[in-house]
């Protein structure tokens, strides 16, 4: 049985509960398979969410149009829940980038699961690896 089933119509959004250094937030993020683990990050949140962090690491990232943009990061946002599926108290720790643009969850998290996009039936499912 899938741990999470989502509507999928060209794009897919996942409701997550996250913990930023003790502050819990519930939000919707875009499932972005182009946000590869090679970036070193697995979650992109709005810049203003950085204020919940007890510390941040700042660095320059290159965005799609070639600009170098300063952004805050933290190495340890905890994903506590996806859809109705709750993780244990430690959650899943994902390095996170705080910057403008759509909120997105990337492959660093997605690769932990079997993710199926079912276009004809307009749904996506997350399954545990066997």
């Amino acid at each position: 049985m899938s741990i999470c089933t989502l509507p999928y119509e060209g794009k897919c959004e996942l409701n997550v509960v996250i913990d930023i250094h003790g502050t819990k937030k519930e939000l919707s993020v875009l499932v972005d398979t182009g946000f590869t683990s090679g970036t070193g990050f697995g979650l992109k949140l709005p810049a203003e969410f950085a204020r919940f962090a007890k510390f941040t690491g700042t660095g320059y990232v290159r965005v799609a149009d070639g600009r170098e943009v300063a952004a805050d990061t933290i190495p340890d946002v905890k994903i506590m829940q996806i859809g109705d599926h709750k993780f244990d108290k430690d959650g899943v720790i994902i390095p996170t980038l705080f910057m403008s643009g759509p909120r997105a969850i990337g492959v660093m998290f997605l690769q932990l699961y079997i993710l199926k996009f079912d276009g004809p039936n307009k749904r996506a499912t997350f399954d545990h690896a066997p």
Partner: protein
């Protein structure tokens, strides 16, 4: 108390750098911050300022360290302390996550302008 440098030296929390350190590197790396007032700094500007200062701190690290670690990822605090140097951003993040830090830091890939392409 309206200027960043003064506030830092008096152990006040600085929204720009998030430090409680008694003395920052402001004397060594002053590039006009003292002219700014608290109200002038919005969070987006604070991120830019942290990045500018961080880049300057890394540029002042010993040349040998920077050459020997060219291409590796480095994290430094705004007091100039090197937290970690790792081959990948992933391993740097893992190492920092285990440090239970209380202060902000700057990340750079030595010899590169950016740490990631998003």
């Amino acid at each position: 108390m309206t200027q960043i440098g003064i506030a830092l030296e008096n152990r006040h929390h600085c929204s720009c750098f998030g430090l409680y350190e008694k003395k920052l590197v402001a004397d060594k790396y002053d590039f006009g911050l003292r002219r700014l007032r608290w109200g002038d700094i919005e969070e987006s500007n604070a991120v830019d300022l942290r990045a500018i200062l961080g880049r300057q701190i890394v540029s002042k690290l010993p040349t040998r360290l920077r050459i020997e670690n060219n291409g590796r990822f480095i994290a430094v605090t705004y007091t100039g302390k090197v937290l970690a140097v790792c081959d990948t951003l992933g391993s740097l993040n893992e190492e920092i996550a285990g440090m239970h830090l209380k202060e902000n830091y700057y990340i750079e890939r030595l010899g590169h302008n950016t740490i990631a392409q998003i």
